[in-house]
């Protein structure tokens, strides 16, 4: 308790936080149509979220890494993202079924994913974008067949995430899940997600092809995953929480990644290394087309971790949503 009280004394509400120094982006429009269409998900309570109140960084590393981030700290974000997700049978069930659906799609296409990669089938977009493309290109002969299958798995992902993301955003934002309310506008959301995920597939493949020639496949995959997560990882959340169209969601996700401080990148890099550990842990496992109970168990647990990180990102987005401009922005030079 003493620790909690001590933390509170250092905390200021996010709504009053001005974390952007003059050199940072300034919105031209404070209120946009997208913002007006925003869903009823409230901003997360910020009394315990410790957003940075001052433009001045705190602590040794804070000073070294630049201005303090407006995002809540890592531990708070993870705890606030994890708990509602883990306590909701609906979210857990949907997440598990998401894994089964994607695996089923690959199996039906005759391209069962290797045992070691089962656990990243449900990783946060855009990680699976590259994975889907590479696996299906590997397993199918013919560009048209591969394209159709990639589109197919993208639709499967959109159908699943169109349900899971609003449930997670609602659970994190309101502390409770009301499925009927969360799933309102499901089809429109799915269409937007198809747009987002398709763009991510195209971008991921483009970057992979460009980088692969210089740095090799492995580093190209790392770069696509890391930068994709950093800049596009919040896009589905933005789309759901703000009711924003696909392009605007991607744009705002990229802007959210560029706010001052290292907190967003820290969460992303930890998640990125988690993905590496997961793939390394099972990478050498012999291929088995019929997953065993332990194989499923591991993949399902990692899927739970994926959705917990989604919860953390949702919590962070809800904490900073007011500070991320939705319309065009202009840059201002930093006065010397």
């Amino acid at each position: 308790m003493g620790r909690k009280g001590k933390r509170r004394r250092r905390t200021k509400p996010a709504a009053t936080v001005s974390t952007r120094p003059p050199s940072q982006l300034e919105p031209l429009e404070q209120e946009t149509p997208a913002a007006e269409e925003r869903s009823n998900v409230p901003a997360v309570p910020t009394s315990r979220s410790e957003p940075a109140a001052e433009g001045r960084p705190r602590g040794l590393f804070g000073r070294a890494l630049g201005p303090e981030s407006p995002y809540p700290p890592l531990g708070v974000s993870m705890a606030r993202g994890l708990r509602p997700v883990a306590a909701s049978p609906l979210i857990l069930g949907a997440t598990f079924l998401y894994l089964l659906a994607v695996w089923g799609f690959f199996a039906a296409a005759g391209a069962e994913p290797p045992t070691g990669l089962l656990a990243i089938l449900t990783a946060l977009p855009p990680v699976p974008s590259l994975f889907d493309s590479l696996v299906l290109l590997q397993e199918t002969s013919g560009a048209v067949a591969s394209l159709v299958l990639v589109l197919g798995v993208t639709i499967v992902r959109a159908l699943a995430l169109g349900a899971i993301v609003p449930l997670v955003v609602q659970a994190v934002g309101e502390g409770a899940v009301r499925p009927r309310e969360a799933l309102r506008g499901y089809l429109r959301r799915v269409l937007s997600l198809v747009g987002i995920l398709s763009l991510e597939v195209a971008l991921a493949l483009l970057v992979f092809v460009l980088v692969q020639g210089f740095l090799g496949s492995q580093l190209a995959i790392f770069i696509v995953w890391l930068f994709g997560l950093q800049f596009l990882g919040m896009a589905p959340i933005v789309m759901v929480a703000e009711g924003a169209p696909s392009a605007d969601s991607l744009r705002r996700s990229a802007r959210a990644a560029r706010v001052p401080g290292m907190r967003h990148f820290t969460l992303i890099i930890i998640y990125f290394f988690l993905l590496q550990i997961v793939t390394a842990a099972q990478g050498g496992a012999p291929f088995v087309a019929t997953p065993t109970i332990p194989t499923w168990g591991f993949a399902l647990f990692v899927s739970f971790v994926h959705v917990a990180v989604l919860g953390a990102l949702a919590y962070r987005w809800l904490a900073v949503r007011e500070q991320i401009p939705s319309g065009p922005v202009k840059r201002e030079r930093t006065p010397r």
Binding site: A86, A107, A111, E139, G175, F287, A289, T290
Partner: protein, 437 residues
């Protein structure tokens, strides 16, 4: 081939498969001699021996101490010849006793080749590499030829000529009696595999990593002139060695495609995409149909005439230098995990397996009585038929059992769901303040 597609194809091709099954044993019986004088069994790399059949037991085993085998064994005149890192060793095929052993200058090498009373092998590396011919009975050196370049692939030979391909792309034809060079031919790129010799042609595959391309060549065995060449699209890495049977030459190319080329002109007769590319020392076996192995451990039976995949099986390790052979009508293969497996040629089911350490197994050899394995972990093993053991009947891990998968999923999901809900709702419930907020 993806398992789902394999199942569909099985259903569609039952009549063809039935006819292939009838052909299998007859084709497997075509090799009845008790020798395996070169990688792939013969100069054309057909890779078929009359026996023994699985299940196997260890007939004898030799630990080679610190000097590990670095390539597949060959068998001739009752001797098993193994090229080791720093020696060449001849073991009695009957009991594994050492017949002779000679020092060898360290360097990459493929399997030796035996012609009559001569055994040839490569020693040294780069400009110090040479091909050595020695007496089969005592290992005494007869002649040597300076290669001036490493030759990591297995050797090949026809009646009176030894063929060797160096890593920088020179194919040498040497007189087996004198060691004099008959001709040499320069291919574009690197050659890491074994030349195959059949019908007066020498078949070599070459990779050009800088150009991300590869080319396969047919060279006149008499004159050393190019007969034809074939350049598939796709990656330069992952070409297998050739096997030749009838009027078709079979090779795996870097675009993970098995190709059948006409021996007359190199025209592609059929091609079939598999899961992965091929090891350079890997070569198809041709027991009537075609059996190939890829670097991911996939073993496939393809129709020799049309390339249709009858079955595929996945062994646990990769087949980087391992290669399937057919003994007694069963596919025998050793992989990089040290596991040797026997697969029923007709059904594609695993009928026997055993592990010989954890080091890579090179391609097996067979002479009718034994299957010989060389492990990079320092072991040479002879397997014989075990009348007391029973055959397994395990499907390939690439075979999907949907209902079993769903049941496994349901069990795992239910357990994890209950666990998480108990932990986060009962053991660690949300603090009241957080819940209210």
């Amino acid at each position: 081939m993806p398992p789902g597609a394999a199942i569909r194809r099985h259903l569609l091709l039952l009549p063809i498969a039935a006819s292939l099954l009838a052909l299998g044993p007859a084709a497997a019986a075509q090799r009845a001699d008790a020798s395996w004088p070169t990688a792939g069994g013969d100069a054309a790399h057909t890779g078929v021996a009359s026996g023994p059949e699985p299940p196997y037991r260890v007939a004898w085993e030799v630990e080679t101490d610190d000097d590990d085998p670095i390539c597949a064994p060959v068998v001739a005149e009752g001797l098993v010849i193994v090229v080791m890192r720093e020696s060449v060793m001849a073991l009695s095929a009957g009991d594994g006793s050492e017949a002779w052993s000679v020092d060898r200058e360290e360097g990459p090498a493929g399997a030796a080749v035996v012609l009559g009373e001569t055994v040839a092998y490569v020693e040294g590396r780069d400009d110090g590499a040479s091909l050595v011919a020695a007496g089969l009975t005592d290992g005494a050196e007869l002649w040597s030829f300076d290669l001036d370049d490493s030759a990591p692939g297995p050797l090949a030979a026809d009646a009176d000529t030894v063929f060797v391909a160096t890593s920088e792309g020179l194919v040498h034809a040497l007189d087996a009696e004198t060691g004099e060079e008959d001709w040499s031919f320069e291919v574009e790129g690197e050659t890491l595999g074994a030349p195959a010799v059949a019908g007066g042609l020498v078949y070599v595959s070459a990779a050009r990593p800088s150009a991300r391309a590869g080319t396969v060549y047919a060279i006149d065995a008499e004159t050393g002139e190019e007969a034809w060449r074939f350049s598939p699209s796709g990656s330069a890495l992952g070409f297998s060695s050739f096997a030749v049977a009838g009027d078709l030459a079979y090779v795996g190319t870097g675009d993970r495609t098995v190709r059948a080329l006409g021996v007359e002109d190199g025209r592609e007769v059929w091609s079939r995409v598999v899961r992965a590319p091929f090891g350079p020392r890997s070569m198809p076996a041709v027991p009537g149909d075609l059996v190939v192995g890829d670097v991911l451990g996939g073993v496939y039976r393809l129709g020799a005439a049309d390339g249709e995949i009858a079955w595929d099986f996945r062994v646990p390790g990769s087949l980087l230098s391992g290669s399937p052979i057919v003994a007694g009508g069963f596919v025998v293969v050793g992989d990089d995990t040290g596991q040797a497996s026997a697969i029923d040629l007709e059904e594609g089911l695993l009928v026997w397996k055993d592990t010989f350490g954890s080091a890579r197994l090179e391609a097996p050899a067979a002479d009718g009585d034994h299957v010989y394995l060389a492990s990079r972990g320092g072991r040479v093993v002879a397997l014989e038929y075990d009348p007391d053991a029973a055959l397994l009947a395990e499907p390939s891990p690439t075979t999907l059992f949907p209902l079993q998968a769903l049941l496994n999923f349901a069990a795992a999901a239910a357990a994890l769901l209950v666990l998480l809900l108990v932990v986060f709702r009962v053991v660690l419930p949300a603090p009241r303040e957080e819940a209210e907020s």
